[in-house]
């Protein structure tokens, strides 16, 4: 086989059959673009929802003290229980299987003032590990409440980003004073903007957080609103929960089987459910994508098939003037390969440009916060091109092989 011959014939015919080749290219590129964008937006949604899901914190469990529903060691049922700040350290000391333990006081409708701006907002007293457990991530150049603040009961405040805007507008808040219940506090930090899809006491963006110890001193609360922990092993949640009941049962004196004594919100179990929903959405998009792929494939196959009548005569003519079967088939193969390559990767490139363009839309919008940014996957693209390429090849090459294996007379006669 002579490669130069095949190349010469191929290049010449390729230039001559622009319309058919362009149509095939466009069909292939279009199929690739639609599927890549569809799945790309799906992936973006998935990623964004996963991020949003983590806004409240990742792998955390929230505990609330309840009231007993069973009598225990001579104590009657219906006894109100409550956590104190000591319980945080007690829990940490009793259960090495907990990576972090924190807790908070809460008070709604507290007057917070800066200059002429006065708001009535939610103030929480928190432990420093809320930075990682509850994603209270400070903006650049600011910080969260730390251990020293706790020890010295400093009057420092960490503001939710929206609350900061309400009090300060565009002005820098760090180091400025605000008045909580008339008492001066120094702003040490502003929370980085985050999407928060779930909450147990309002969204963090409108809260003022101060050190737990300062809160006790200012508001005189004795009981925590809730305790939060993160276990070291997320696969052992039920056993850890069981241990929580046993540990507090000893200290607060209630029946360890009394499930009303402590309410537990296991967000890990919730996120498993959430993962399933996300998987469902992706599966749905995948099915739509598969059907789109089929339509695109039929389009490519159709163009290939329609041109077969013309091409069968072409094969007959070429064989009649001395073309060997192998030359003719090689030409078809190269053509199919180039069309697949150019159309497929062209489609991928266009998809990439479109999604990049979409990501650069300079709009800060809640819708975009939820939809996420489309993300192109190279693997999906290659699979799509492979499937379309094979469909095109099969629908184009098999009839060509048939045409080239019969006598030239039969191919010339083909109508």
């Amino acid at each position: 086989m002579n490669l130069a011959t095949i190349y010469n014939i191929f290049i010449r015919d390729f230039r001559k059959q622009k319309k058919r080749i362009t149509l095939t290219l466009v069909a292939l590129a279009w199929g690739t673009i639609s599927i890549m964008l569809l799945l790309g937006f799906g992936e973006g949604l998935h990623q964004q929802l996963s991020i949003n899901r983590k806004g409240m914190g990742e792998g955390i469990v929230i505990l609330w003290a309840g009231s007993t529903s069973l009598p225990y060691k001579g104590l009657p049922k219906g006894r109100e229980l409550a956590f104190t700040a000591d319980d945080i350290d007690y829990l940490k000391a009793s259960m090495p299987e907990l990576a972090e333990v924190g807790g908070e006081y809460s008070r709604w409708g507290v007057e917070v003032r800066h200059g002429n701006s006065v708001v009535s907002e939610h103030v929480t007293g928190i432990t420093p590990n809320y930075e990682t457990m509850r994603n209270h991530i400070p903006e650049m150049g600011s910080r969260m409440v730390n251990e020293l603040d706790m020890q010295q009961k400093r009057r420092v405040a960490f503001l939710g980003d929206e609350l900061k805007n309400r009090l300060f507008g565009d002005e820098d808040a760090i180091g400025k004073q605000i008045f909580i219940r008339g008492l001066p506090f120094t702003v040490i930090g502003v929370m980085q903007h985050k999407m928060q899809m779930s909450s147990y006491s309002g969204h963090d963006l409108n809260k003022v957080s101060i050190p737990l110890t300062t809160f006790e001193a200012v508001f005189g609360h004795r009981y925590l609103n809730n305790i939060i922990y993160v276990p070291t092993d997320l696969n052992n949640m039920a056993a850890i929960e069981r241990r929580i009941y046993e540990v507090f049962s000893a200290k607060m004196r209630f029946d360890p089987d009394d499930d009303r004594a402590i309410s537990v919100w296991d967000t890990v179990a919730g996120s498993r459910e959430f993962t399933n929903i996300l998987f469902g959405i992706k599966l749905f998009l995948g099915i739509i994508g598969g059907l789109t792929l089929l339509i695109a494939g039929v389009g490519v196959a159709n163009i290939m098939y329609v041109s077969i009548k013309e091409r069968t005569r072409e094969i007959g003519i070429k064989m009649a003037v001395g073309g060997r079967k192998s030359y003719i088939l090689a030409q078809f193969l190269i053509e199919a390969f180039i069309i697949t390559f150019v159309g497929g990767f062209g489609g991928m490139a266009v998809s990439y440009i479109l999604t990049e363009g979409f990501q650069r839309i300079p709009i800060e919008s809640d819708v975009l916060d939820f939809m996420g940014r489309p993300t192109i996957s190279l693997e999906i693209g290659l699979v799509v091109i492979g499937i379309l390429g094979i469909m095109g090849l099969v629908s184009g090459l098999f009839p060509a092989m048939k045409a080239a294996s019969v006598s030239p007379v039969e191919s010339l006669r083909y109508e």
Binding site: N2, A4, T5, N8, I9, R12, D13, K16, Q17, E310, R313, E314, G316, I317, K318, M319, A320, V321, G322, G323, R324, K325, S326, Y327, S407, P408, V409, L412
Partner: protein, 225 residues
């Protein structure tokens, strides 16, 4: 040049078998000009296709320049069609998307003729059939006579000894047809073996010999020259 003995060709359409050639004995010498005539369905085109190696016989022997065509591979047949035989069809059979120049070039590409030689040869052939000014025209931009002259030029590309023409004037008016016949005469004068299928007796009578086919058999084998 051509020797055929007991040559048969049968076609099967569905369950019906049809025998187009029923035992042809034929001998054609070098530099002969032969006309093949006969009514429709007499097997003229089938015979021509077998002579031109476009089709293979069901049985019998066919030798082309003493080589047994029956025993050749499809690649050997392709090479013979490329270099030893020039075929001219009634329906021209030009590539519709290619210009006259490009159509004539195809056999040269398959014969791996280098670019410069290809260019020279195509231009020489275009001039020979009087189409030097139509090199860039596609078949749709040419008259029937011009298309047939392009096809003749293509058949001559690799300078074959044997020229086969299946009703070459069938789709042409008498003036264009006359020009085409004139070209075949010139080729014969230049030493080529020319075989023409026709039902136009005026053309047939210009040949040295007329072979009459009827019902798949050779009927007469007169020598008119």
């Amino acid at each position: 040049m051509i020797e055929m003995k007991e040559l048969r060709k049968a076609y099967t359409t569905g369950k019906v078998e049809f025998e187009a050639l029923k035992g042809i004995d034929l001998s054609i010498k070098h530099s002969e000009m032969v006309a093949v005539v006969g009514p429709s369905g007499s097997g003229k085109s089938t015979l021509m296709n077998i002579i031109g190696c476009l089709d293979v016989p069901t049985s019998g022997e066919y030798r082309l320049e003493d080589d047994p065509v029956n025993e050749m591979t499809s690649n050997q047949l392709a090479d013979i069609r490329n270099k030893k035989i020039g075929f001219v069809f009634q329906a021209f059979n030009l590539l519709p998307y290619a210009t006259a120049y490009e159509n004539i070039e195809v056999p040269l590409l398959f014969a791996r003729v280098s670019g410069k030689k290809r260019r020279e040869r195509v231009n020489e052939l275009l001039a020979r059939v009087g189409l030097a000014d139509k090199a860039g025209n596609k078949p749709t931009e040419m008259s029937g006579g011009e298309m047939q002259r392009t096809a003749i030029a293509r058949s001559l590309a690799n300078d074959p000894d044997l020229i086969l023409a299946d009703e070459p004037t069938g789709n042409l008016d008498s003036k264009s047809g006359g020009e085409i016949v004139k070209i075949f005469h010139e080729l014969w004068s230049a030493g080529k073996t020319v075989i023409i299928i026709t039902h136009d007796m005026n053309i047939a009578e210009q040949a040295q010999r007329i072979i009459r086919l009827k019902d798949g058999l050779v009927e007469g084998n007169g020598n008119l020259a």
